[in-house]
């Protein structure tokens, strides 16, 4: 197992290198450049200023030259300096990472708990009113656009009921954990929605399959209580595929944070990414995308390891 993990980690290096080439090419292939923000303001810009600006940022060089410069520095741990803020990219990412991880984490936990409860109950009470209700709700949850759901929650809980704030993190209103948590509620619900819906469906299907297996009949025949049958024998097996999907979806949560953070003015990386994209802030974009790529690759590995840990039949050589 250790050898397997080591091999997978080593394989990540060429994989990530390849990813950076593609990312760099795609980002640069999008027409326009960092001077766009300057020109777009509609002010009268001195054209020589635009030239000087491009030269200072190095974007007047051919793309391969820019890439070699970037990767050379990146391999030494230097992700460069943001075009728009003139600050080191690494510093900016580290500054914003906690907020994103917090949101991802709370959404993940929330989604896992809800999906577990809903999935188990719908499988155990298949075709009950609860099962039908949760099935319809899941499809609604998967189909509903995130920004719209966010808007509705803001309106209901922020404006009509006045229970929860709709933007920010609460760092201004005196701080305090409880105060901060109020700000976390809505974005976490919005970000977790599609995962609650998806994972509860997976769990339901997986548990239904497990509950029909021979060993469940054996367990029942032994006279085990229904709780032990479902909990110990059923769920344990049913969770194996679901847990790997959850691990894979972690990277998706990172992507989902882009929209959620923008809607709720959450100070994470997702929002910074949107801004960097419009500003054509290449170094910052590359830094964030590299982080995202690492997350995808790592979470894939985690999913594989978790799979092996949960299912003794699976062994990696």
């Amino acid at each position: 197992m250790t050898a397997y993990i080591l091999r997978r980690v080593l394989q990540m290096v060429p994989l990530l290198l390849g990813i950076t080439v593609i990312l760099f090419a795609v980002i640069q292939a999008a027409p326009g450049g960092p001077e766009g923000a300057l020109l777009e303001s509609g002010r009268f810009i001195d054209p020589s200023v635009v030239e000087a600006y491009r030269a200072r940022l190095g974007v007047d060089q051919p793309v391969p030259v820019q890439y070699v410069r970037w990767i050379g520095a990146a391999l030494r741990g230097d992700l460069g300096v943001s075009f728009s803020t003139t600050r080191p990219v690494t510093e900016m990412i580290i500054e914003r990472l906690p907020a994103t991880l917090e949101l991802m984490g709370s959404a993940f936990v929330l989604a896992a708990i809800l999906a577990f409860l809903i999935g188990t109950l719908s499988a155990v009470r298949q075709y009950s009113w609860f099962d039908h209700l949760s099935t319809s709700a899941s499809f609604l949850g998967i189909a509903m656009p995130v920004f719209w759901f966010g808007l509705i929650l803001q309106l209901v809980f922020g404006v009509w009921l006045g229970w929860l704030p709709v933007a920010g993190t609460g760092s201004l209103s005196g701080g305090g954990l409880l105060n901060h948590l109020q700000y976390l509620v809505l974005p976490s619900i919005v970000l977790s929605l599609r995962y609650v819906a998806g994972w509860s469906r997976y769990l339901r299907g997986s548990l239904l399959g497990a509950l029909r297996a021979d060993y469940i009949r054996t367990a029942r025949a032994k006279g085990l209580s229904e709780g032990a049958v479902v909990g110990v024998h059923g769920l344990r097996n049913a969770l194996i595929p679901v847990v790997s999907i959850m691990a894979l979806n972690l990277a998706g949560l990172f992507g989902g944070a882009v929209i959620t953070e923008t809607i709720f003015a959450w100070p994470g990386i997702g929002r910074m990414f949107v801004q960097a994209m419009f500003a054509r802030d290449y170094p910052l974009l590359m830094g964030i995308l590299l982080l995202g790529s690492v997350m995808v690759v790592v979470f894939n590995l985690v999913a594989d390891i978790v799979y092996a840990a949960l299912d003794p039949r699976i062994r990696y050589e």
Binding site: G36, L39, R96, L151, G158, V159, A167
Partner: protein, 503 residues
Amino acid sequence: MLHLAYDREIDVLNALTSQNLVDIQFSMVEGLVTTNDENTYIPVLAKEIPTEENGGVERNADGTVTMTWDLQEGVRWHDGEAFTSEDVCFTWSFVISPASQVYNRHEYEGIVACDTPDEHTVVFTWDGVYGYYPGLFEVVLPEHILGGKTAEEVVNYTPYNRGTELVGTGPFRFAEWRAGEYIRVVRNDDYWRGPEVPAIDEIIWSFVPDNNTRFTAMKAGQYHWARIQPTQVEEARQLDGYEVFLVSSNSFMHLDLSLNTENARALFSDAAVREAMFMAVDRQAIADQLLQGTVRLADSPINHTSPFHNADVPSPQFDPDGAREMLDRAGWVVGPDGIRTRDGRRFSFTLLNRAGASDRIAVAQVIQAQLKDVGIEVRFSTLESAAWTQKWRSGDWEAVVSAWFLPADPSVTGLYACDGSNNMTGLCNEELDELMKESDRFLDFESRKAALDEVQLRLADEHRSLPLYFNVVPELVSDRIEGHRGSGTNFGSFWNLWEWRLR
């Protein structure tokens, strides 16, 4: 504490090198001048704006101009250092270095010398006459913080850019910039206008980028001020505790026709044809229906709020029948598919759209439908923002709906002169050129106004650019705020924060 919802996180706090339109900065930094809500430059750190009348401007025999600025006395930077004429000359020397990349650097290049006869007097020597001079130096940089650095070092100097070493002379001093969340400033107890101002102890700009969230958060009472969308105005007017201000911005929305492609030249070379096209566009319908009547129609690039606006410029009238008649007369006859043709060429051209600019695209769609009504086909080419900008700057297009954001200075030479640095349409009329350039060489209001009145009339005659409307920035303002006088210039609505009060 005053809490404002701001549309975006800004890039840097250096107001001269920021790529964004700057306004938060003006709570902390000041310059010799600023613009007020009447599109007029007013003195700040200068006692008055020098003119020939008050003796501050002198023309020399060799064609140069000497300009003397008397500075306010007793002004201190936030760290206690005295503000002096040296700071002004330092700012000039920074801006004119090529590495400063200040967007209007070229405007400062007319100044060939900056002298400091004493601490409170600055003398500029200009190499000629430039009418825009009162619009420069809206920001003065602190020499004792940034001096001794190269221009490139100043541009990249994080302690100033992020605020930790930002000192200004303004009513508020920098307190905190929490990444992704807010910028906080606190009262400057040593403000030069006197100990009784500013009346507000603390201001926070929270970054709330989503238009809907910003409005919802206002409804939930989270902030005192926010910019909202024209489509939200009607609902906003029903809210208790807030007032809606429709700030007429100097952002001049217009339809440009270019003569830079072969097809465009074949279609648009005849002024009568261009006039007919403009007659086919119902601008009032665009203003009433797309923008809910929030905007004021434009007849010239210079805003109604500006003293240089010429009210006698004729408004383009909506007259589709007249347009059809003129097009018939010009030899463009309606073909079997409803589109006019002449000498085998269909009257069909491409309009360049910027993806995501929903307001402009909606305007373009109305124009498309209205031109179709008189037998003209408009195709759309939609490009993503930065790509659009590049294409638009290259001049290689036929038509575009876009906006210029004009400063309070009324010069339009850069937009419409043959060699204008922002003239992408290929418009070139030598007589008009001479008029515009002349208008830039007057230093007194009356002569400049007269020249620009003529320029605005001539521009309308060209029919190269159909003025649509001045963009409106609706601001939703808590009725606890007193003293808010929204300004539509590129200096924004925070020019008089020192006067604001919170009830």
